[in-house]
């Protein structure tokens, strides 16, 4: 069996009285994009910092690319990435930043070539000789990714890489990450954007309060969401409401005033939703749209991280539309 890119067993990290990570177990194989999600303060950044070698665990064992990591800055070569956003030098150009980094990592003679290739890969070749102080957040994100690519990493650790990216930039970054994973690189991706995770990740790990509350394939996480709210838009809302009321294991949720007048919100499992669609067709009610109010991954995230009695607000449809 191939050595996993990351193997953690019972790792704990504290900062004073605060337990940032508590007995965390984690396996991340090579050649896969692995998502890391969790609410603010869950310990994601601490875990990413450990993987990058910025700090050391207090207890437990951590192996990165097959090497045990006992002290800070002892992760093996082949690990790259950033936490809390890429931080490069605004007075230097993009190319100067990358060439200096390549030189520091021992690629003095090939630094210029590597920098040019990395800039081209993230689509920044046109601004290669511009100083960073004029770069947008999205451009900085892409440059941070280029910096990580310089050393041909076997473990790439990225914290919110899609922050500030326009759709084209996001597509660019996704393509790069997919290519890296296909080439055998393990990519660990922390993000609050469930659509990014759904598009990229094979598996996810969900942290809450410094503990792993879920780790596994995305589909399995989605299944954790239980019954979901669905928005049902039909040609005849009143008739649809009557039909929905007659379907077993399906509840009509009172409108909150934000839904369109021809829409209905119902709550149920996938079986109940199947029966609703059949019933609507039998009743001659034209179905225009059927979609979960909260995406399954997000619903699973909320189900696993929020206290049981915490209210779950459905996102505003306008926000969802804007996000799309």
């Amino acid at each position: 069996m191939a050595t996993p890119a990351v193997r953690a067993r019972g790792i704990t990290k504290t900062f004073g009285e605060v337990i940032a990570l508590n007995e965390v177990d984690l396996d991340i194989p090579s050649g896969q994009v692995h998502g890391l999600v969790g609410p603010n303060g869950a310990g994601k950044t601490t875990l990413l910092g450990l993987l990058l070698g910025l700090s050391a665990v207090d207890s437990g064992t951590l192996e990165v690319l097959g090497s045990p990591v006992g002290r800070a800055l002892t992760v093996p070569d082949g690990v790259a990435g950033f936490v809390d956003g890429p931080a490069l030098y605004p007075a230097l150009t993009a190319r100067q930043n990358l060439e200096a980094l390549a030189s520091l990592r021992g690629h003095r003679t090939s630094g210029a070539r590597r920098a040019t290739e990395a800039l081209a890969e993230v689509g920044l070749e046109d601004v290669a000789d511009d100083r960073l102080r004029g770069f947008s957040l999205g451009m900085r994100q892409r440059l941070g990714l280029a910096a990580a690519l310089l050393t041909e990493p076997r473990l790439l650790v990225l914290d919110e890489p899609a922050n500030g990216l326009d759709p084209a930039g996001k597509h660019h970054v996704h393509r790069v990450l997919t290519r890296l994973a296909a080439g055998g690189t393990a990519v660990v991706l922390s993000s609050h954007r469930m659509d990014d995770l759904a598009a990229l990740c094979s598996e996810v790990t969900l942290l809450a309060g410094g503990r792993v509350v879920f780790t596994g394939p995305l589909a399995k996480l989605a299944a954790e969401s239980g019954d979901l709210d669905y928005r049902v838009t039909t040609a005849d809302a009143a008739a649809a409401r009557a039909v929905a009321a007659s379907v077993d294991d399906l509840h009509v949720v009172e409108a909150d005033g934000r839904s369109a007048v021809d829409a209905l919100v119902v709550r149920g499992g996938t079986d109940a939703m199947d029966r609703l669609v059949v019933a609507l067709v039998h009743a001659g009610v034209a179905l225009r749209e059927l979609a979960p109010v909260v995406p399954p991954l997000e619903a699973a995230f909320l189900a696993l991280t929020l206290p049981d009695d915490a209210p779950v607000d459905a996102p505003d449809p306008k926000d969802q539309e804007a996000a799309r």
Partner: protein
């Protein structure tokens, strides 16, 4: 943490290698030189002194309140020394503040510590690269000040002999050597300020006070040096060599206070840089909120330097004959008499009179402070001296009066009070017209470290 028994997989366990120090140093230099602030300051260091000296050397009044300022019309070498005097008070602490004081703080401001630590993978090498880069930039700036000042003086006034602080003439070659040595001596306190700058930068992080530490220290030291403190304390301060370089322009050179000042300054440089290093390598780079300050400012920064000050004061007090203020009647008598004799010869040459020697003049001085009521010691502007000498070619003696303003660092300005033909007027009549009177006002410096002869 618990022991990990799994050995590294041979194919994948490439050991983490720190970046080469040379590459880290080049990167730090590139970062320094990429900022407009550093570029402008470097440009100013290499151009401004030349411009200043060239302009001032062409006009009157001269900056007579600065040592050697009154000789700027006479020799090009005086300009570089005026610049050194100015740099000693203001420029060197400010330059070290801008460069060394910002060496570490800039990473806090930009939020780039994690990036840098991951790239270099060794806090020790980061520290070494940053300290060396700051040293290189500061040295280039100081070199610029010196070269520019010399070039401005030589091009605008010329390569003429330089009167020393006791009036003896230094040939152009001797002047060049001594000016270069004086600037080299000023490097020691500059290194001390740079070390303190590094310490402030590590301790205070993005706090703007970190940038100002060398400048604040220099200001504080200047205030202390203006006070009538014991000479053992004065010479144990890290900035004393920025004053005592003047002793190089005496004959014989007053090397005791200068060497002592250099040793103390280098000790400050080592201790402050070492404290900065010790604090830096213990830093948690995952803590983005770190902005220094707190208890470690006292324990890691202030206490080592306070202890060093106490030790150096004790050593100077015990190991040297220094006592009191270091300024007394006997020293002023001897010093002023020597200076007068040397400058009298200069005036004689200006007036095209037959040359005389210092031995023929047999000059002596009798200084008194505050009349018969006060003790004839210490700094003050109430010193009055009567200089007497044998008039050449006669058996008569001449006498001239000077009012002395003696500062606590041993420097004095003697203002001639007459007779008018000797030292009472700022010009003398020569066959080619009026010329500056070298005996009218003169600068001098007493050796604070020598024991009193009184």
């Amino acid at each position: 943490m618990t022991a990990t028994v799994a050995p590294p997989a041979p194919a994948e366990a490439a050991a983490s290698r720190p970046a080469p120090l040379g590459a880290a140093l080049l990167f730090e230099l590139a970062k320094q030189l990429s900022t407009w602030r550093t570029r402008l300051v470097l440009l100013a260091c290499w151009l401004a002194p030349a411009g200043f000296v060239a302009v001032v050397s062409q006009q009157t009044p001269l900056p007579a309140d600065t040592v050697f300022g009154r000789w700027m019309l006479s020799t090009g070498w005086a300009g570089a020394l005026v610049i050194l005097g100015f740099a000693s008070s203001y420029a060197l602490p400010l330059l070290t503040s801008l460069v060394a004081g910002d060496a570490f703080a800039v990473e806090d401001r930009l939020g780039t510590w994690r990036h840098l630590v991951m790239a270099v993978r060794s806090p020790r090498r980061i520290f070494a690269a940053k300290a060396l880069a700051a040293l290189v930039v500061v040295l280039v700036m100081v070199l610029g000040l010196a070269v520019s000042g010399v070039a401005g003086g030589l091009l605008s006034v010329g390569n003429h002999p330089l009167p020393g602080l006791d009036g003896h003439l230094l040939s152009p070659a001797d002047a060049a050597r001594t000016v270069a040595l004086a600037w080299a001596c000023a490097l020691a306190p500059t290194l001390a300020y740079a070390g303190v700058g590094l310490l402030g930068s590590v301790l205070l992080g993005r706090n703007p006070m970190g940038l100002l530490v060398p400048a604040v220290l220099a200001l504080g030291l200047q205030l202390v040096q203006a006070l009538p403190i014991p000479v053992a304390v004065r010479l144990a301060l890290p900035g004393s060599a920025l004053i005592t370089w003047r002793g190089l322009f005496m004959a014989p050179a007053q090397t005791g206070p200068l060497v002592l000042g250099i040793v103390v300054a280098l000790a400050w440089a080592v201790v402050s840089t070492g404290a900065a290093y010790a604090l830096f390598v213990r830093r948690d780079f995952t803590d983005l909120a770190n902005d220094g300050a707190g208890r470690r400012t006292l324990t890691g920064g202030v206490l080592p330097l306070a202890a060093l000050t106490a030790v150096t004061v004790a050593v100077v007090a015990l190991a040297t004959p220094a006592s009191g203020s270091g300024i007394d009647k006997a020293k002023l008598d001897a010093n002023l008499a020597t200076s007068f004799a040397h400058l009298y010869r200069l005036q004689t040459a200006e007036l095209h009179r037959p040359a005389v020697t210092e031995a023929q003049l047999g000059t002596s001085a009798d200084c008194d402070r505050g009349g018969s009521l006060g003790e004839d010691v210490g700094a003050g502007n109430d010193w009055r001296c009567v200089v007497t000498w044998h008039l050449p070619g006669t058996t008569a003696t001449g006498s001239a009066i000077y009012q002395l303003d003696v500062t606590a660092d041993g420097r004095y300005v003697a203002d001639g009070d007459g007779p008018k033909e000797v030292n009472g007027y700022f010009t003398v009549h020569t066959v080619s017209g009026d010329a500056p009177n070298p005996l009218w006002q003169l600068d001098g410096s007493v050796d604070l470290l020598t024991p009193s002869k009184g």
